[in-house]
């Protein structure tokens, strides 16, 4: 056995002797970089970089309890602490301590498999969609709708819109919900990363887009209705807000109901966007007609 350091580190070559299966393909693993560099301290390289000093494990001739950091035996907070030792300074993990996943004790090794990953990138335990669906079965049902974002087709991933490591407070709605939704440039809803034509700024913004966000009218995952609509008819979507009632709207005197010239018996007026074509925001008409 190679001589251990005073801290009990024995070096990765000792681990190899008993765990050749792990070592054999480890060169594909992103963590192999620490081994390849040859410049890291024992505490930051190879097996012991994550699992801790191996002296006791070697002397006991194996056994999980003798591994200082055997991840399958660690509690959620300990797993988190261990991984964040290196990964905690990344911008995308700034909210990991307060994320809904962490609250539910879903931590790193629930989704990532370091030694038997299904994906080379991010070392996910399963393909991303399958990984998320295994807990979020209701979301899977939403992505089975006729009108949906193309996640099952492999065109998109859940992480295009969500950050499973947590996100700052949303800048739309009241900033408390939804959680775990990532933000696009300018801290906007992620929808606007792709749907750039809806982004503006416009001379006349539709307040619904900016104040409460796209979900005011659309379901983001999937819907039985076209265009991911919350309702199957356009007029129902519009009139549920545009009813002139109470203290709502920009001037807190109700969101304007439509004009008397609109006879709702006439199908012509039941599809609002036929005339109000620029419903997400317009540059030339405050009623979004042009």
């Amino acid at each position: 056995m190679a001589k251990a350091t005073p801290d009990g580190y024995v070096g990765g070559s000792v681990c190899r002797a008993c765990h050749p299966d792990v070592w054999q393909s480890f060169f594909r693993n992103p963590h192999y970089k620490s081994v390849a560099s040859g410049k890291e301290t024992p505490a930051k390289t190879g097996c012991e970089g994550c699992h801790g000093p191996g002296k006791q494990h070697v002397e006991a001739r194996g056994g999980k309890p003798t591994i200082p950091f055997a991840f399958s035996l660690l509690g959620p907070n300990q797993v988190l602490d261990r991984c964040l030792t290196c990964h905690g300074k990344d911008f995308t993990r700034a909210d990991v301590r307060r994320s809904s996943h962490t609250q539910a004790e879903i931590v790193c090794n629930h989704c990532h498999s370091i030694h038997k990953p299904s994906t080379q990138k991010f070392l996910l335990a399963k393909q991303q969609t399958a990984l998320c669906y295994q807990c979020h079965a209701n979301v899977r049902a939403q992505f089975s709708m006729p009108s949906r974002h193309r996640v099952n087709e492999g065109f998109m991933n859940c992480t295009d819109c969500h950050n499973p490591h947590g996100t700052p407070a949303p800048t739309w709605r009241m900033g408390l919900r939804p959680r775990m939704v990532t933000q696009a440039l300018a801290n906007e809803e992620p929808c606007l990363k792709c749907h750039t034509d809806k982004r503006g700024p416009f001379a006349f913004e539709h307040a619904a887009v900016r104040v409460d966000g796209c979900e005011t009218c659309h379901y983001p995952h999937g819907s039985p209705n076209p265009k991911l609509f919350r309702r199957a008819t356009t007029f129902a979507v519009c009139l549920e807000c545009h009813n002139g009632s109470g203290e709502f709207g920009r001037q807190a005197d109700g969101i304007p109901a439509h004009s008397p010239s609109h006879d709702m018996r006439n199908p012509r007026y039941q599809n609002c966007t036929t005339c109000h074509v620029r419903i997400h925001g317009s540059n030339s008409d405050r009623q979004f007609l042009r």
Partner: protein, 665 residues
């Protein structure tokens, strides 16, 4: 044993998703790769032919599914890794593609990395978006466009304490579309118009990261440019949608270039220790767009008078946005975590448009419209998590948010200015609590609830008095996984005359069993219930109708079943079935818009319920030809049926499938 585990893991992974039939997911064998020089290379690609036969509404099929006929590179993967981690030019090259050739959803993902020196990531995606002016929404807006996305990210010295970043993103949308325009006033007829969509966004990024004395500072500077040069017309026009209307349009042309940029800054500072962690971020975006509208319409108005109208509009919109947040996490013991997130966001949208109309060679006065919408919000989110034991943990939190909205809407006409300014605030207090039980290692039970109270929400359908109750139970053993989940969300938003209430209840059950490498099965069922009742008001025959209700009831049942059988390591058969069915409120053929005469109120008094079904059974056979070659044959049937329309003109049945060869080593 290792191979068996690998196959089982892949099988479970594939079964828990709802796959499209292609590309094939069955592996030729464990990816072992071949050593060439100092590199290990593994590769696979699947070349095949897709076929499609369709009966029914092609437009709806293209909107929902869109797979067509032809030869495709259904999927490919190339992986090169240096065995010692000290390659000359790179240590890792990873390239994954899907659907290249002519699939509606194509992608290529590349990573190129040299340890300690650089890392380059490329993501390229293409989606064919087809929206056939779906009849359910009575739409007349068609889009047959292609969206292309590409992201390039380059990092210099990725493993060091000092990193540099550069990035580029491009997003474009091109293709034909149909829109509508109204002429010559707000009561005039509408006309379908052709447009040639040309939109493009380019974003450039530069940044860096430095770690010093335990603090890490990350900064990013970006420039985001957007342009929309979609022309509309010129074209020969029809008599319009409403034949009873006298409005005609003999010529129409509209040009409306819309260009602008949004330069931004982002700063991020973080510090992590054993007992606490903190991070702070700040971003500043200054968005501006300039536009010009030049429109010419010639024809007759709704009274039959000849009209030659030109409209000129020019102006700009701007939206500076500042966002900042501070996260503090304390973990005084290994069991307790306290976190606080304080967020600040302020966006100020302002725009103006100078409008001038020339009617039959007579110029009207110039009208100057302007508006401002300022949204400032502050959140304080405090949570505590306590893991009392391995089998028991609790968490809870108090969340507070306050928002100020300032609105200014006005116009200036002939020296006279009219504007309305209003400011309003609303607040939300919410609390949540939950617990997690793990009586045995394989079994997890989680319950949580949240209750919130908002003052003065902005919309009638916004969250006001809401509560949510969620529960999940999961059993995961080596070969068996069972789970059940429930989510309920109730919201009530009422004022003196109008009320909005929504009730959402979701129940999901899922099971998967993989007794060995030769067989696996996965099944699940979800019920998504939603009913909303909202007060509405509208005009019918010039009569203002108040106190009506818009009722919407949806009961969506979604189920899936998938099973994979391996025959003596020579062939794999996968069969799957998924169905979504909306049973509405239980009626088989409700009439969403009943025939009415002067009782227009009935339009909304009826529950809006739209029963439909959408199902997609599939089967795939994959046969091992050699140790590196597989032959695959797949079939997937799509059936969409609406039960709410008497005409059924959006229904379709599609037979799709593919045959392919998959080669890999």
């Amino acid at each position: 044993m290792r191979n068996a585990l690998l196959i089982a893991a892949i099988a479970i992974g594939q079964l828990t998703a709802q796959p499209t039939v292609a590309p094939s997911t069955e592996p030729v064998g464990p990816a072992r790769g071949e050593n060439v020089g100092g590199y290990n290379i593994s590769d696979s690609f699947e070349l095949g032919y897709r076929f499609r036969s369709l009966g029914g509404n092609l437009g709806k099929y293209r909107s929902d599914v869109n797979f067509g006929n032809g030869i495709r590179l259904l999927g490919s993967r190339l992986q090169l890794n240096s065995r010692e981690g000290r390659g000359r030019l790179f240590d890792e090259l990873s390239l994954t593609t899907q659907g290249l050739g002519n699939d509606p959803y194509q992608s290529a993902i590349l990573r190129l990395e040299k340890n300690r020196i650089y890392r380059y990531d490329l993501s390229w995606r293409l989606a064919e978006y087809y929206n056939p002016a779906l009849a359910v929404s009575a739409g007349q807006h068609l889009l047959d466009t292609r969206r292309r996305f590409q992201d390039h990210d380059f990092t210099l010295f990725p493993q060091s304490g000092f990193k540099l970043f550069a990035g580029y993103t491009r997003n474009s949308q091109t293709g034909p579309g149909l829109s509508t325009a109204q002429a010559f006033d707000s009561r005039g007829d509408e006309f379908p118009l052709f447009m040639d969509v040309r939109r493009q966004r380019n974003e450039y990024r530069l940044g860096g990261e430095a770690t010093l004395a335990g603090f890490t500072l990350n900064f990013l500077r970006g420039w985001d440019n957007f342009k929309d040069d979609t022309p509309i017309g010129p074209q020969t026009l029809s008599a319009g949608n409403n034949t009873a209307d006298l409005t005609t349009l003999s010529s129409f042309r509209r040009t409306e270039p819309y260009h602008g940029n949004s330069p931004y800054w982002r700063l991020f500072l973080t510090r992590n220790t054993r007992k606490f962690s903190m991070n702070a971020r700040y971003s500043n975006v200054s968005g501006r767009r300039n536009f010009l509208v030049d429109e010419l319409a010639i024809g007759a108005d709704r009274l039959g008078a000849a009209r030659n109208r030109q409209v000129f509009v020019f102006g700009s919109g701007s939206r500076p946005v500042v966002a900042a947040s501070l996260n503090l996490s304390l973990h005084p013991t290994s069991k307790l975590t306290l976190t606080n997130h304080t967020g600040f966001h302020h966006s100020r949208m302002s725009g103006d448009a100078s409008f001038q109309e020339i009617n039959n060679d007579r110029a009207g006065a110039q009208l100057f419209n302007f508006q401002y919408l300022g949204i400032r919000s502050i959140q304080s989110i405090t949570d505590a998590t306590y893991s009392a034991a391995k089998w028991f943990g609790v968490y809870g939190g108090y969340h507070y948010s306050t928002r100020r909205i300032q609105s200014l809407e006005g116009q200036r006409f002939d020296g006279f200015t009219d504007s309305v300014f209003f400011e309003q605030r609303n607040r939300v207090h919410s609390g949540l609590g939950g617990l997690r039980l793990r009586p045995v290692k394989a079994l997890t039970i989680q319950l949580d609830t949240e209750i919130g109270r908002a003052s003065r929400p902005f919309f009638p359908v916004s969250e006001r008095n809401y509560h949510a109750v969620n529960g999940r139970i999961q059993y995961r053993a080596r070969n068996l996984s069972l789970s059940a989940q429930t989510r309920t969300f109730y919201n009530n938003n009422s004022v003196s005359l109008f009320a909005h209430s929504s009730r959402s209840r979701q129940y999901s059950y899922d099971a998967s069993w993989t007794p060995g490498s030769r067989f696996s099965i996965d099944a699940g069922y979800s019920k998504l219930h939603l009913d909303t009742s909202t007060g509405i008001a509208y005009f019918a025959a010039s009569q203002f109708i108040e106190g009506a209700k818009s009722l919407y009831i949806s009961n969506l049942h979604s189920a899936h079943l998938g099973s994979r059988v391996a025959f003596a390591k020579r062939a794999d058969l996968y069969v799957g079935y998924s169905i979504v069915r909306d049973t509405g409120d239980g009626r088989q053929f409700p009439s969403p818009i009943p025939a009415v005469d002067n009782a227009a109120i009935q339009v909304f008094s009826f529950a809006q319920t739209f029963p439909m079904s959408y199902q997609a059974p599939m089967a795939r056979l994959s046969v091992v030809l050699t140790s590196k070659l597989r032959w695959n044959l797949g079939y997937q049937h799509y059936a969409y049926r609406e039960d709410f329309s008497q005409l059924f003109y959006q229904n379709y049945r599609a037979h799709t499938g593919y045959v392919s060869l998959l080669w890999s080593f």
